[in-house]
Symmetry: C2
Subunit: 144 residues, 2 copies
């Protein structure tokens, strides 16, 4: 594994995509995984060119682990794989949205999504009310 530089490593990623991808200084872009049919936002991971290439060509969501500094095929150890349904770049080409079919839990905690457990504010009546904490009750909402 080489030292990460600002120049993307050589990758077989489609040059037309590589040319417009806008990477952070660490060569990565955030990748949002969304359950394709329910719309649940499952998790956010990071991709370099090679991870995006593998995601596009293998049908399995593949990330770059910043903590382990290695490729991470989601589900390879847990069985909780993400089958890729579609991949889109955003308008600035600096974020990836991957619609997937998630097998089992997306989160390593066993929760369906990585955003289930830590709701810090909820103003949706009836939604998340049980786990909501009001983090700013002293300031009234503006413009509502």
């Amino acid at each position: 594994m080489g030292v990460m530089t600002r120049t993307p490593p050589p990758s077989p990623l489609d040059p037309a995509i590589a040319a417009r991808l806008k990477r952070s200084t660490d060569g990565l872009v955030p990748a949002i995984a969304q359950q394709y049919d329910t719309g649940e936002v499952l998790m956010l991971g990071w991709m370099n060119d090679e991870a995006l290439h593998r995601t596009l060509t293998t049908g399995r969501c593949t990330y770059w682990s910043r903590s382990r500094q290695e490729y991470w095929v989601k589900g390879d150890t847990s069985g909780h794989v993400q089958h890729v349904k579609s991949v889109a770049l955003d308008c600035d080409a600096d974020t990836v949205l991957v619609k997937v079919d998630q097998v089992g839990a997306a989160c390593h905690t066993g929760a369906r999504t990585c955003f289930d457990a830590d709701v810090i504010k909820s103003a949706v009546s009836g939604e998340d009310a049980a786990s909501a904490e009001d983090a700013g009750s002293d300031v009234p909402p503006l413009g509502q």
Copy 2:
């Protein structure tokens, strides 16, 4: 505007949240904006402690613009505001999911979401088929 450092700037953000927030080296966390009722992923922005605090306390989604190096209250110039419905951290506390009620278009291009225009792969039958390009047809899907 001071120089960005790895130490988060003083902010009235709830200390209990600030203590567990894991920021990138630029002091930011990615923030996913999702339409609360339809589940559409609208855009991804960036928040520092103060932007998260403002998002939690004003009811309006507020980001830190990396390009302009300034706070950005979504919709202040376009009118396309995001009314905050709920805010959650992920399991690692390094990503924010904000469920919002988006007025009008989330994207500066006028598209409803920032991910509408640039679908680079679609394998969802009937979905996005018109704009799909097959970016990796030479490699068959694995494990499907």
